[in-house]
């Protein structure tokens, strides 16, 4: 069955300790619903970033902070196993409602393709 990344975006200055309790409860309830439906492979929130860039001399430069200079970053994600994109979209709609946030869906592929 195809797998999908459902990623939630947060502003740079988001502070998880200031998150409303009702939001936390709704995200928890959505996770319970996904588990009951058997679609949830993995779920998480993300912490601070470090970036690693290849250098022309073959070395790797490590810096603090996210790789992309944007005002929003992925704050967490679900990996869901769904029949198709429509089912992933239906779960992502619930993700928008529960998190009060913005969500992106990407299909995951595997090399080599699993049997």
């Amino acid at each position: 069955m195809p797998q999908y990344l459902v990623a939630g975006y947060l502003p740079d200055d988001f502070d998880p300790s200031q998150m409303d309790e009702a939001v936390g409860r709704e995200i928890h309830a959505l996770n319970e619903e996904m588990i009951a439906a058997g679609v949830r492979k993995f779920a998480c929130g993300l912490g601070a970033a470090k970036s690693l860039r290849p250098q022309s001399d073959g070395g790797v430069l490590v810096t603090d902070g996210p790789y992309l200079e944007t005002k929003e970053h992925i704050g967490g994600f679900w990996i869901l196993e769904c029949a198709d994109m429509d089912e992933a979209v239906a779960w992502a709609r619930k993700g928008v409602a529960a998190t009060r946030g913005q969500v992106e869906i990407r299909e995951i592929f595997f090399v080599p393709t699993p049997e």
Binding site: L5, V89, I108
Partner: protein, 127 residues
């Protein structure tokens, strides 16, 4: 053990069909090395960002769905590993190998372990 996301960054016009055999071998070897070390929890590539769908909350409470990535950026996450590592240094060591194998920049982020005021959503099933 803490878990870390190692996300590889691709230009928006990246075409995985143009990846060379040497690079594919290097990535396969890195995956095997991660498996042998017991570090690899999950790994997957992502269909290119132009195939993404983005869902935005609307002021009226509705949700709009559009084709394409959420961020208007010239690069997007092209694939990722979820690794079990003792600490950030170990995750960065794997990240360095990922930069070399994939020939692209990567971003390393720890997963949050403390969920204040509520129960942790926990970890998903094994991938």
């Amino acid at each position: 053990m803490p878990q870390y996301l190692i996300a590889i960054q691709h230009p928006e016009d990246y075409d995985p069909s143009l990846e060379g055999e040497a690079m594919i071998r290097d990535i396969a070897a890195l995956n095997e090395e991660m498996d042998a070390a017991g570090a690899r929890f999950f790994a997957g590539g992502l269909e290119s960002a132009r195939h993404a769908r983005s869902l935005r909350k609307q002021p009226g409470g509705g949700v709009s769905i559009t084709d394409g990535p959420y961020l208007e950026a010239k690069e997007h996450v092209g694939g990722f590993w979820i690794l079990d590592c003792a600490d950030l240094d170990e995750a960065l060591a794997w990240g360095r190998k990922a930069v070399v194998a994939c020939r692209v920049p990567v971003e390393v982020r720890a997963f949050l372990r403390i969920r204040p005021k509520r129960e942790s959503p926990g970890r998903g099933g094994s991938a």
